[in-house]
Amino acid sequence: MSFVELFTIFFGVMLINNFILSKFLGLCPFFGVSKNTKDAVSMGVAVIFVMIMASVATCAINWYFLMGHQSNLLFQVFGGTDPSTFDMAFLKTIVYILVIAVLVQFVEMIIIKTSPALYRAMGIYLPLITTNCAILGVALLNDDFAKSSASMEPTFLSYLVKSLVQGVGGGLGFTMAMLLMSGVRERLEYTPVPVPLRGIPIAFFSASIMSISFLGFTGMM
C-alpha cells in the first residue's frame, strides 16, 4: 500500500473510470439536479459525504461478517474448522443497501439536530442518494481491495484505506461531472436548440459528447 498505489486508485476512479462518464452510474441525479450550478455542487458534496461513509461502513461489514476468512467474527465466535462456511458474499448487495440506507438516515437525524443550516444546504439531497447506484457501485467496487492476489495479502487496514480513497475519489469525480454538466446546461438555456431537442434530449447529447471526451483517459492505467 504505497502512496503511488493510493494515488492511482484516486486518480483512476475520479477521471479514468469516472462513475458518471465512464461507468454510467448515478445518471439519475446527473440529469435531475444538473440544471444549475448551485444545486449541482450541493448534490456533489452530499454524494462525496455519503460515498465516504458508505465506503467505510460497508468495508467493515464485509470484512468482519461476509467474507469467509479467519477474521470473520462469526467464525471466531462459533468456531469450526473451515472459515469458508461463513462466506456470505452473495448477501453483499442486500446488506450494502441496508447499511447505506440506515447510515444515511442516521446521519440525517444527527445533522437536523446539530446543524440546521447544514441540513438546509445538503439535507434534501441526502435521502435522494440513499439508494443511488453510484453509492452501491463504489461499495461493491471496493470489494476488489479485499481479495488476495499474488503480489500481496490484504489486511483490514489496507482494505479500509483503499476503500476510503476510492470513496473520496469517486465522490470528487461525481461532483466534477455534475459541475461540468451544470455549466453546459446553463449555457444551453440561452442557446437556440431545435424544439424537439429542448430539455432532456439535448442534455443527453451533451452528456454523450462529454463522455466521449473522457474516453481520452482510457489506457492511462
Partner: protein, 280 residues
C-alpha cells in the same frame, strides 16, 4: 447447505433488528422539537416562496414571524383572511394594510430603435449592449423579463410590446420591480389610481422626439395638483401616493397624456386607457 441458509438468515435478521432498534433509539434521542405555530403559519402562508419578504422562503418567514418581531404585513402576497388567522395564531392584533399592485411606468407606442438587437431575448442582457436599443433610455425594452419572473402570472406581454398587469392576480410582491433593468415598474397602493405613465428623465425636447406619451417636465400637473402631491424632478413628474387624493386634475392638464387615470378602467389597465387616449 442448511448451515448457509441459517447463517445468512441470521446475519440479515440480526443486522435488520440492530439497525431498526438503533434508528428507533436515534430518532428519539435526536428528535428536534419544532414549534407547532411555525407549521400552522406555514400552511396559511401562500407558499409561493416569492422572496418578497426578504427571507429564503415561506418557511423561513414563518420562523421569523414566530421568533422575531416581524409583522404579518411583511408578506405582501398573503390574503387578508389568512393574515387575520395568522395574527390570531401569533396572538397579535392585525393592522390592516392596503393591497399593493405593480404599475408599469411606460406606454411608448413605437420608439425608434437605435440599432437592431439580436442577442438573448432578456431585458437585462439587452441593456448591456450599449445601454439598450431604444432611443428613450428610460422606457420599456419590451423583452418581457418582468413577465417571466412573476411568480403569479400576473404580468403578460401585450401585443403592443408592453407588459400588462392583471389586477386580480398581482400581489405586489415586487419581483418585477426588482428585475426591471430600467426600473420602470413600481409598487403602488391599490386605491391610488392616478399614475405617471412615463419614466423618462430626458429633457422635454428629446422625449417628444422619441415618444408621443412621454413626460416632458412641463410642470403643469405640479401646478394643477390641489394636494401638492406631484413634484417634477429631472424632467419627470412624480406622484407622492401618500398625498394624492385621486382627483384627476393632473390627468386633464397633461399635454402629452403621460398621466393615466386607471379608476375609469379599473381591471383593464392601460389597454383601455390607451384606446381612450387615441379617441382624444
Amino acid at each position: 447447505m442448511l448451515t448457509t441458509v441459517i447463517i445468512s438468515l441470521s446475519i440479515l435478521g440480526v443486522l435488520g433488528v440492530l439497525f431498526g432498534l438503533g434508528l428507533a433509539y436515534a430518532s428519539k434521542k435526536f428528535s428536534v422539537e419544532t414549534d407547532p405555530r411555525v407549521d400552522r403559519i406555514c400552511e396559511l402562508l401562500p407558499n409561493a416562496n416569492c422572496g418578497a419578504c426578504g427571507f429564503a422562503g415561506c418557511n423561513a418567514f414563518a420562523e421569523q414571524l414566530v421568533h422575531g418581531s416581524l409583522d404579518v404585513n411583511t408578506c405582501k402576497v398573503c390574503a387578508s383572511e389568512a393574515k387575520s388567522v395568522i395574527s390570531s395564531v401569533l396572538g397579535k392584533e392585525l393592522v390592516n394594510q392596503e393591497r399593493e399592485i405593480a404599475v408599469i411606468h411606460c406606454m411608448r407606442e413605437t420608439i425608434p430603435a437605435r440599432f437592431e438587437y439580436n442577442g438573448i431575448q432578456d431585458c437585462r442582457s439587452a441593456l448591456l449592449v450599449n445601454g439598450g436599443f431604444t432611443t428613450c433610455q428610460y422606457g420599456c425594452l419590451g423583452l418581457g423579463t418582468c413577465a417571466t419572473v412573476c411568480p403569479f402570472e400576473a404580468l403578460y406581454m401585450g401585443e403592443d410590446g408592453l407588459p400588462h398587469v392583471v389586477d386580480e392576480k398581482c400581489t405586489g410582491c415586487g419581483n418585477c420591480a426588482k428585475v426591471c433593468p430600467r426600473g420602470m415598474i413600481t409598487i403602488a397602493p391599490m386605491s391610488r389610481d392616478v399614475h405617471i405613465l412615463c419614466n423618462s428623465k430626458h429633457d422635454g425636447k428629446y422625449t417628444i422626439g422619441c415618444c408621443n406619451h412621454g413626460c416632458i417636465g412641463c410642470k403643469r400637473c405640479e401646478k394643477a395638483c390641489p394636494a401638492g402631491a406631484i413634484a417634477v424632478k429631472d424632467f419627470l413628474a412624480c406622484i407622492d401616493y401618500t398625498k394624492c387624493v385621486v382627483c384627476g386634475a393632473c390627468v386633464d392638464v397633461c399635454p402629452t397624456g403621460a398621466i393615466g387615470d386607471y379608476s375609469l378602467f379599473r381591471g383593464k389597465q392601460s389597454a383601455k386607457w390607451r384606446s381612450g387616449l387615441a379617441a382624444k
